[in-house]
């Protein structure tokens, strides 16, 4: 892998000057050799309107955000595309709502054309109730899209074996769920997420299930390289405030991971000196030495 390049601006056309909070460039998320930006990735789904979304995006400091592809409707809603262009935030088109590999491949191709980026958040869902990833169609679609030159970031379950298969077919990252989309249940199986992160040679971005800031911090502590959050911010009572909380949590979790946590113990371990205690016979010092 070559050295990281600066982010290409293909997905943020029109040379828009970024107006999101300045980013210090420290410890960036790097995917496929491209510096993405801060390790918090925001999804745009769930915001009641574009104004609220803009506030949340700016507060989060993110440089990468997901968009969905839908039919142009006469008299349709305001364009999120224009907003992202203005903010200078890279769009990551997804294949949300696709239930087969075929649908997902076509949607990814439309996203590449519409957004001018070969990056795709690949989703192949099993059904519209659980919204869980369908691993067979997912791996098939990922394989196909990688061969078409896409940079594929697949949304997957927390199964380490599926994550490995996705990496095998050439995905640029893996994005395991913490819990079902929109559930806010956090990370249901931390050991699986840790196992995925430990083995992966590509970035691991926790996707789906984050409910509050501690969930995002935990993901980073478990070894994830980034966190993707949508509903937890856009549907919070105060989205910009939650966006800032998530950004702080991701940085805190990352710092804690790098700092190296203490091992868990079954019993207490005093942190104060155990010798020289008042009212005890002398001699302990000698024993301790």
């Amino acid at each position: 892998m070559s050295a990281p390049t600066s982010p290409d601006t293909a997905a943020t056309p029109a040379g828009a000057a970024p107006v999101v909070a300045p980013w210090d460039g420290d410890d960036p998320l790097v995917v496929a050799g491209t510096v993405v930006g801060p390790r918090l990735v925001l999804g745009t789904g769930g915001a009641p309107n574009l104004d609220r979304l803009e506030d949340a995006l700016v507060a989060s400091g993110t440089r990468l955000t997901t968009v969905a592809l839908r039919r142009v409707r006469p008299g349709g809603e305001q364009s999120v595309w224009a907003l992202l262009t203005r903010l200078g935030i890279r769009a990551l088109p997804n294949t949300a709502g696709c239930f087969t590999a075929r649908e997902a491949v076509l949607t990814a191709e439309l996203g590449r054309e519409a957004c001018g980026t070969s990056w795709v958040k690949l989703e192949v869902l099993a059904d519209d109730v659980t919204l869980l990833p369908e691993p067979f169609g997912l791996v098939e679609a990922a394989d196909r899209l990688v061969r078409e030159g896409f940079t594929v970031l697949p949304y997957t379950g927390d199964d380490p074996v599926v994550a490995r298969r996705l990496e095998d077919v050439g995905c640029a990252a893996v994005m395991p769920l913490g819990s079902p989309i929109g559930s806010g249940l956090g990370i249901l199986d931390p050991r699986s997420i840790a196992a995925i992160a430990e083995r992966a040679q590509v970035p691991v971005i926790l996707d789906a299930g984050v409910g509050t800031a501690s969930d995002a911090a935990l993901a980073m502590e478990l070894g994830c390289d980034g966190v993707l959050v949508a509903s937890a911010v856009t549907r919070a009572a105060d989205p910009p405030r939650m966006a800032r909380a998530m950004a702080l949590a991701v940085r805190a979790g990352r710092a804690a991971r790098l700092a190296g946590r203490i091992p868990r113990r079954e019993h207490a371990l005093a942190s104060s000196p155990t010798d020289g205690l008042v009212g005890r016979p002398p001699g302990n010092l000698d024993l301790a030495l």
């Binding site: 789904g45 968009v67 262009t85 519409a114």
Partner: protein, 113 residues
């Protein structure tokens, strides 16, 4: 049922009653050839020989409040088109005719994920 004018109850073939009202009901119905249509985002609309992907997309976008960025240049970004499940690159829209009976999907980026 055509009115039977004869009083002869045994005559049930109405065609013998009055040749002026000879029954056409038994003739097969031959409909006028259907006007050719194209299906744009699931909605049928009239087809004509001059349709290109560019004209259809422009027609859609002029109706849409979305009016994505870059529309002024005539090559809107944030929008993609697929003709019968094959992506048509933006640069080819103007030169790609839309055949009668075709399905055209025109999509744009929206909030999601």
């Amino acid at each position: 049922m055509t009115e039977t004018r004869t009083t002869d109850a045994r005559t049930t073939d109405t065609r013998t009653a009055d040749t002026r009202t000879a029954d056409t009901e038994e003739l097969p119905v031959v409909a006028a050839p259907p006007a050719p249509v194209v299906t744009v985002n699931g909605v049928p609309q009239p087809w004509d020989a001059g349709l290109t992907v560019a004209t259809v997309v422009q027609g859609l976008l002029s109706d849409a409040a979305t009016a994505p960025a870059g529309c002024a240049a005539g090559t809107p970004t944030g929008v993609a088109a697929a003709l019968d499940d094959a992506i048509v690159p933006r640069g080819l829209w103007a030169d790609t005719p839309v055949p009668a009976g075709a399905r055209l999907e025109v999509v744009t980026a929206v909030q999601g994920g």
